[in-house]
Symmetry: C2
Subunit: 339 residues, 2 copies
Amino acid sequence: MSIDTPVELDGFRAVLSDLAAPDGAALAAASDRNGQLTKPPGALGRLEELAIWYAGWRGDARPAVTAPQVIVFAGNHGVAARGVSAFPADVTVQMVANFEAGGAAINQLARTFGARMDVHALELDRPTADFTTAPAMSEADCAAAMAAGWEAVDPGTDLLVVGEMGIGNTTSAAAIAAALLGGSAEEWVGRGTGLDEAGLVLKARVVAEGLARHRAVLGDPLQVLVCLGGRELAAMAGAILRARVLRVPVILDGFICTAAALALEKAAPGALDHCVAGHVSAEAAHGRMLASLGKEPLLSLGLRLGEGSGAALAIGVLKGAIACHSGMASFAEAGVSEG
Amino acid sequence: MSIDTPVELDGFRAVLSDLAAPDGAALAAASDRNGQLTKPPGALGRLEELAIWYAGWRGDARPAVTAPQVIVFAGNHGVAARGVSAFPADVTVQMVANFEAGGAAINQLARTFGARMDVHALELDRPTADFTTAPAMSEADCAAAMAAGWEAVDPGTDLLVVGEMGIGNTTSAAAIAAALLGGSAEEWVGRGTGLDEAGLVLKARVVAEGLARHRAVLGDPLQVLVCLGGRELAAMAGAILRARVLRVPVILDGFICTAAALALEKAAPGALDHCVAGHVSAEAAHGRMLASLGKEPLLSLGLRLGEGSGAALAIGVLKGAIACHSGMASFAEAGVSEG
């Protein structure tokens, strides 16, 4: 809360070294309340866990979701020039205009679930470098993008979704996953917006080149973001970290968002304890990425759009869970016999 | 729409013999629109199919969900006296009071997703007969309960959820499933609100006794409802059928709701084409029941509460799907390049 925005990677490292924990008293009180509500024990399944988890992070045994925020970050990728996407790089800036005009899927979903939506285009006229030939960004650029994400979070929000737009960014995300979790490039690349078979082979080769190029520094998760990331990925990581400082629960979106988040978890295990997985994407390796985080997705509906769309859809699940927890009567209040 | 409420089972049979179809022109126009929206083809996964399906039933290529309705039907079961539930039969009437006072899970979920909620208690002081000794209901009682369900549907609604409350009704639902789909009683019974191992063995024996008692008439799906059902199950079937006449899409809930719906499908294949499966319940055999219907659940969150809760949670998914479909800009409108 009182933490100033870090300006260098070391500032983010300092935040990661001293992370906020959930409120134990609120967790215990929420768990106790859950046991008294007019339903058979456990009958609301994951909704019960979600509500208690949310209560712990908010420090309130009977919380409400009143101010969800969706932030979409956009960035351009030098690696897109290698032909790794089914869409031209111009689409990034065109889609930012679409977000600003309210015409994209994420606009409709944010509105449906009562979320404020913000769009941050990150130096679209200055794409990252092609990571097969150089680090995608300088450390200063990466820190600036993380700081932009950090500052984009409304301190008054009580539930955060971060999404992205960036032609080429599933290539960046696949490279990050391979760097952080191991395995071959082939295991992590997918069809993104709709690559054909030849495109997929090319994409794996590009990822493998990137991994080989930066191998010496990939033991450091923040260097992985610097070398293989993109501004929108770094910004998502910054926003998720800010949410942790603010004790704001986060719903993770798909492949790209999860790759960005993974860098935080690898830098500081437990750094994503304030996050749930909103959905599992149709992008092939997303399920494996979530499994490595031990996070079971709330939804599995074959989405592969990004923008925060799957996570925004899961706002409804969170709202439902917390409405039940905080709004239901207890057995005693309702005069209902316990089994 | 102009069909009077049937008063006898034969009246419901007549409706089932001449079911409304979706609007082919709206389906085609919605599919065409879907292909023009600012997203890679197929990137919204099941949301795309849902929106097109919904458009077809509503006869509107660009529909909106503005008036969802949740109806909870409650009934008492003679078979509860056999000790097949972890809760006493008094809980049915107590929970009806809780629904009416706004204290149950379904009240919170209906409110969260902007649905009107109605509660219909069906002759709670006159439980059905213990189906191991006699048909659960007379044909007239079953038709009256179906008619109550039929009339409970608001003709102005545009999305229907039906839920239930009735101590003992997972026993009735298991017996219906076994009668309609085959297999042993053991395969269809589950723990309901929380039966122990001995209770589960007893429940299977009770279901087997009911199946043996009524074997001669179980080839007729409506007789299955008469002999093994309950008033709230018959009412759900009546409401789902009315929705079909009104071309109102329905979200199916869990084990009991799906068993009631199954009687319609077995009576007239395709009778549930206007229905999607809202979720798969933790009640063990629900997944198998949905598979027999060829319906993939939208959610899988371990719920086993009934009341319409899982289906109500899925209203959010439907609303999100239709908001994207009807609210997104096309490539041409937004000036976005197609891949």
